[in-house]
Subunit: 275 residues, 4 copies
Amino acid sequence: MRLLFLGDLVGRTGRQAAIEILPSLVEKHRLDFVIVNGENAAAGFGITEEILQDVLDAGADVVTTGNHVWDQRDTLVYIERQERLLRPVNFPSGAPGRGANLFTARNGAQVLVMNAMGRVFMDSLDDPFTAVDMVLESSPLGRVADAIVIDMHAEATSEKQAMAHFADGRASLVVGTHTHVPTADHQILPGGTAYMSDAGMCGDYDSVLGMEKDEPVSRFLRKIPSGRFTPAKGTATVCGVAVEIDDATGLALDIAPLRIGGHLSQALPPSWTQG
Amino acid sequence: MRLLFLGDLVGRTGRQAAIEILPSLVEKHRLDFVIVNGENAAAGFGITEEILQDVLDAGADVVTTGNHVWDQRDTLVYIERQERLLRPVNFPSGAPGRGANLFTARNGAQVLVMNAMGRVFMDSLDDPFTAVDMVLESSPLGRVADAIVIDMHAEATSEKQAMAHFADGRASLVVGTHTHVPTADHQILPGGTAYMSDAGMCGDYDSVLGMEKDEPVSRFLRKIPSGRFTPAKGTATVCGVAVEIDDATGLALDIAPLRIGGHLSQALPPSWTQG
Amino acid sequence: MRLLFLGDLVGRTGRQAAIEILPSLVEKHRLDFVIVNGENAAAGFGITEEILQDVLDAGADVVTTGNHVWDQRDTLVYIERQERLLRPVNFPSGAPGRGANLFTARNGAQVLVMNAMGRVFMDSLDDPFTAVDMVLESSPLGRVADAIVIDMHAEATSEKQAMAHFADGRASLVVGTHTHVPTADHQILPGGTAYMSDAGMCGDYDSVLGMEKDEPVSRFLRKIPSGRFTPAKGTATVCGVAVEIDDATGLALDIAPLRIGGHLSQALPPSWTQG
Amino acid sequence: MRLLFLGDLVGRTGRQAAIEILPSLVEKHRLDFVIVNGENAAAGFGITEEILQDVLDAGADVVTTGNHVWDQRDTLVYIERQERLLRPVNFPSGAPGRGANLFTARNGAQVLVMNAMGRVFMDSLDDPFTAVDMVLESSPLGRVADAIVIDMHAEATSEKQAMAHFADGRASLVVGTHTHVPTADHQILPGGTAYMSDAGMCGDYDSVLGMEKDEPVSRFLRKIPSGRFTPAKGTATVCGVAVEIDDATGLALDIAPLRIGGHLSQALPPSWTQG
Ligand SMILES: [Fe+2]
Ligand SMILES: [Fe+2]
Ligand SMILES: [Fe+2]
Ligand SMILES: [Fe+2]
Ligand SMILES: [Fe+2]
Ligand SMILES: [Fe+2]
Ligand SMILES: [Fe+2]
Ligand SMILES: [Fe+2]
């Protein structure tokens, strides 16, 4: 099966670019399943239910999040009824919403999606390794799930790589989010799990993390806030990663980056355009 | 002029791969100037004078470093006589060695190379923005220097991007190091400065940051050290970034990633192979 | 001379307790100089000009701050005309206001007060050691200043102690603030400088850092904000430290804690009540 | 019952001072139970089995630790046979040793001692609140345990205070360690639990955290290591906190600091000397 994962939507330019291009990507390239990280979709801070619906309507099957998940206060409420919105699985028990869920892909496959949050240089949630392990053990790849995707929302590449090796052979894809910069280290690990340290954001890359650059640069220089952070408004690059998953084993056959539009070098998965 | 920057050499496999390939790259692609980050060259921790010499002999014009610069205690002494070894420019005044220096490229151009270290999630050196600004103002691009390269050794992409915008139009290239993962966000900023968030390491990418994966994974799980961190021994990918610099202005004409060997997708700068 | 330093005023209960008791303390115990840290005076976040005036009217000669200095946006403006309000001296150059200033005590002595901010576990301002050193060297104790007080606003005791040893013999008092808990390690260091790691807050100690305890406890448990942080409203303990300074040398003759009211054990400097 | 808790033993001077004074304190003041934090007893880094035995022989009933627990590699082995040595209870499951244990005091009472480690500005162990809650619920005060003591080893006072309020009414004493500085905020909380943010270290207070001050001060100034951290050798202050516990309820009747010897102001619990 063919799966696409798009990184953090940042602001209007980022989410609009993703929403506009997703339908044609899904149709033209016969995508079986689409996951989008939406933690910065609402002006950089969280996601509203309306925006969530727009992203789902555009073709996303699941929206993952991260440290910004509760920035919009309503999310604490509406996440309970939105089964396709995930928050990090390693929040303390009792947190609203779900951190992992099983979904049916367009090809009928059962896809398990998990969102986990790292702890290095971030707030200390529960251990993401234990949390991921519990889900992987209770819904093993190839038996309960035909494909398993872990969005490892984390700052440190060490923790993302450790999670990938920890899940290697037990997941189809471990992909990082949060740094808002796409990495070029996509590979299939020895156990068959595809990995990429960060999917990058869908947003304007002439910016600081997708936000207007003046204020963040000024804060680094002056150490005094001059105003709010607001999303940059330039053309967005839609960034993500595509994986071909073996229907028999759930392991990865191919992984390739996707970068469309905006300031970055363009990339389409070669497997999409071959044949 | 044509410039190549290679990211952090990690351990024997990383430095050997770089040392073996550099002479042919320099010759075949007529590289005018080569910079290599060597902060992890000696078994992952710092760089010895002997290894430094090997890297220079292979064709590097300058070796930059970062937070690991003093891991080999001798470096505090030998850095004084090694003008081609840089430590972060924003160490408090009185630190041994240099943080910036002017070099003559093979084409006769004067190349100013600077090494700066970020402070987000890292030890607090002096302000890297002020330090870089002072050098840029005293040796302006196009007058004192024909090309200016800043190795921004930092954890957070926000700080790297802020530095890039801060130096945009005043440097040829701002390139990040330290995360040991190559990014795919290479671009030329509005002011003409080439930028890439991280050059990636030269090392084995079936690892955690170039180190054997078992110990770091175990520490994330158990929170107890079982042993030392040792460099992974698998085939290395040589990672870096190439820039074509306008001889007249010192600004960037082109930027492209380089990834050779090992587990990652391969990339050669298109401009090297065209014509 | 006799000097009193009061720690961070937290909210209404803390600032009211300090404002009410200061006039009688000044008069009854013939205090020559009073310094108050006011960074949390306005509902826990910064200080308004009106509150500043109230604190000065109550008998404070100087109000110091810390990381919360700019929480009230007006402070960026009014600090320019308020010579008795200090912000950390190690903000990058160009910051509004002053980090150090010379004042005349009731006994005619010239008192130099400095506010510095640590960098361990805090945002990276400029090096506080260099900043303090410059002031100490340009206004030496016993020549330009009859007394010198450094409010070292910092999280880590290591950094506070290092600052104290660094200034030992060159200042009358190095006192820490920011943890909102008074320490019992007051002593006179070998060089004659009085030291206490933290003056403690003026606030309600049945709280978390002076704030209503329910929300912070809930965040530690749930990792999700339920609401805002608001100052606790119970009876405040006025916490601080008193120093007797040698008029001839500017060094410390005696240091003792002060804790009045509220939930903590009560302490008055023995030297105040003897004779 | 009468209980004494001593803070982190730092190096030879700290542990010797504690070892020398403990027998006479136990006898003279009829102490029913003594707990000592020993995480820095072995030259500042961890504790050897031999030193542990010396501390127990001197009268300690339990030795707690913290982030330095595994600094001596043998501890991973010998902790299994040493029931009186505790490591933080919130290490991931499978860690060697115990984080909580029930002991019999000299008066026959059952004393539950727990060691927990904070996560703010520290490595992310499992949630200390959940871990403590589980122990408190399974061994409730007044039923399974006649007294319950929690050593909350943490950097941030916010986290220590939150733990105290969380356990208020369910424990006899919550006492912080790790900052190596005694606080003066000892109090009995509304629910009856005694609290003090930090017991302080047993060590030389003319130092940085009990270590020779030259090297740490130099590192703050130069940001380059010049050598190792070694314990200061001056006279130690034995620092701790004494609690009178209600035999009927297990709640606190009185809390008072203890500071004997060295550079700090001296303090003996008034209840020890009255009558
Ligand atoms: Fe994000
Ligand atoms: Fe994020
Ligand atoms: Fe590195
Ligand atoms: Fe580094
Ligand atoms: Fe404060
Ligand atoms: Fe503060
Ligand atoms: Fe300690
Ligand atoms: Fe500790």
